[in-house]
Amino acid sequence: MALYILRRIALSIPALLGLILLTFVLSRVVPGDPAATLAGDSATPAQIAQIRAQYGLDRPILEQAVIHVRQVLSGDLGNSIFSGRPVAEEIWQRLPATLELTFVALFLATLLGIGLGLVAALDHNGPLDHLVRLVSVGGLAIASFWLAIMLQLQFSMEWNLLPLRGRLDVALGQVPRLTGFMLVDTLAIGRFDLFLDALRHLALPAFTLALPGLATIARFTRSGVLEVLQKDYVLYARAAGYGRFRLAAIYVLRNAVTVTVTQVGLLFGALVSGAVAVEAVFDWPGLGTYAVQAILSADYKALLAVTLVIGVVYAVVNVAVDVAQAIIDPRVADQ
């Protein structure tokens, strides 16, 4: 298994190197002279030349590419054109907020999606089945920014049940940044009230973000369970007298979710896109709002760094998915 994990990590390295190169190419197709952009509007030609030398922009393009790769690998993503601060630092500040939101959404999507898919499959062509199919088709058609606003309208503005925006009610108190994950940090300082408040803040954004994933997972689980139910080993297990619940919920499901798990990896891309929209609507201080802010302030350094970081997270998630699959289905690692 360890060998399999290592091999899987090694396989993702070329794509990541390619991604670093891609960001380099992108940074060079910026219209205009990057040195002039960096120097600002009122820079003299001498200043621009100095900046060009400082950033190595006067060197041959291949050498620049090598320097770029080396910088990125050492964790140097450059300085934000907007704030002047190191981009890596700013991203590090905001990454946990996005990860917390995404993980909670992924958790919700997986839990509810698998449950709904299983229920639908066991009620094949019954009313529950049709209901779940409707949810799974509809869930993929809703624009997440719109759903977020509709939920805000109903739950926050109309019924006043859940907070409108942010991660925590500042009036309740301050949370020191330990991990950056609000749910973890509030518990770490023993403030259960703040933990609940953080959960309340997470509810709407996480649900909005989870819906498309939930739909996809429900759909794949449903067809997976239906397929597995036809297998000889299920018939054999019935003949041998397995319990009904155990058969459906454990025996069949574990086979069915091998396909579902692959989908979770593919879903991550959709989750990140969704996160940009959801963060924008709920003023969530994560990478999504950072990216939007970077666009609006023409901060290409920040934007490329976000692209890169998300690419890395994406790669990590996909490795994790493959490993999870190998754990669920022992045949995968043995191949």
């Binding site: 003949a239 041998a240 319990g243």
Partner: protein
């Protein structure tokens, strides 16, 4: 007679797309205690449905079956009857497809024992290792921790035989347990089964389409054709002096090979359009006018046999072919 299993006049129909398929009709057979009864027939003759009826896993589109299946003094056929899990061990046909690939093989058998055998998990494990040894699995202790794909086909069939034995059943039903294996492995598995039957005094219902296997393992045999019993009786008697025209022609075609009606004109009728009268009459060389109308009863015959052909006696005189 002391019987492990008695099937009386069993009939099963399957519904589907507005059609009704007559899968089994008037099946009567007995598995005497401590002996092996074979059920032989071509594919489509209803062997699998017979097994599913006994195991209580008839497909959902089966109509309410008719008849009785008596096991340990009660009828286990009705849908609401408690199923004899654990008391009837099942050896399935395909060892490659019958074990769930994502669970350890040992755990899958232990789950059956957890539900249907008395004792603690530790006792179950000890017993299973013992069974693994009995079915001659190499390294029984390690086998508990392995996944199905880490065993060979023959080993998997041994696992499944151990699974069938794990709750000390009163009856084993086996569904062509050697067809998916290569010839050498077939012989080994058959040898194992024969040995287990002798050593443990098992009662077994053994479905096959192979007369060679039948001869080497079974004491009694029932020959099925199109969902009905054509002929039944002691294996030696049936094989040596087949009486029903169908059995005769089968054995004439392939005296000790797989059942395939290559030499008999026509084909097995589809279960949705069974002919009236004797179901074999369209292909029978000695069919009489009454064969088209009357369902032939299963009549007692010499040597402890029963034959469903009223004209069999006359045929004795006019030797076939």
């Amino acid at each position: 007679m002391d019987a492990a299993l008695v099937i009386e006049d069993l009939a099963v129909q399957l519904r589907g797309r507005g059609e009704v398929a007559d899968i089994l009709d008037g099946i009567t057979l007995t598995v005497p205690r401590g002996s092996v009864t074979g059920v032989v027939g071509e594919s489509g003759c209803g062997k699998s449905t017979l097994l599913r009826a006994i195991l209580g896993i008839l497909p959902g589109r089966a109509t309410t079956p008719r008849g009785r299946i008596l096991f340990e003094g009660r009828d286990i056929l009705p849908a609401r009857a408690a199923k004899p899990h654990g008391r009837i061990g099942f050896v399935p046909q395909d060892p490659y497809l019958s074990l769930n690939p994502v669970f350890r093989a040992g755990d899958q058998i232990l789950e059956i024992m957890r539900r249907h055998a008395p004792g603690t998990r530790a006792e179950h494990r000890a017993k299973l290792v013992e069974l693994f040894r009995a079915v001659q699995l190499p390294d029984p202790e390690a086998a508990l921790r392995k996944y199905p794909h880490q065993f060979s086909g023959g080993q998997r069939q041994r696992l499944l035989i151990a699974a069938a034995l794990c709750c000390d059943p009163a009856l084993i039903v086996a569904d062509e347990p050697t067809t998916a294996l290569d010839v050498t492995t077939q012989r080994e598995v058959l040898g194992l089964l024969r040995e287990l039957v002798r050593a443990r005094g098992l009662s077994m219902l053994f479905v096959t389409h192979d007369f060679g296997v039948l001869a080497s393992l079974c004491d009694e045999v029932s020959v099925l054709y199109a969902g009905r019993v054509a002929e039944s009786g002691p294996t030696r008697a049936v094989l040596d002096t087949p009486t029903h025209p169908y059995t005769r022609m089968l054995l004439a075609c392939h005296p000790d090979r797989a059942v395939e009606l290559l030499g008999i004109p026509g084909a097995v009728p589809p279960a949705t359009a069974q002919p009236a009268g004797c179901r074999f009459h369209p292909r029978c060389p000695v069919a009489q006018p009454d064969c088209r109308q009357d369902v032939p009863p299963l009549l007692p015959w010499s040597g402890g046999r029963a034959v469903a052909c009223p004209h069999a006696a006359r045929m004795e005189a006019h030797a076939l072919a």
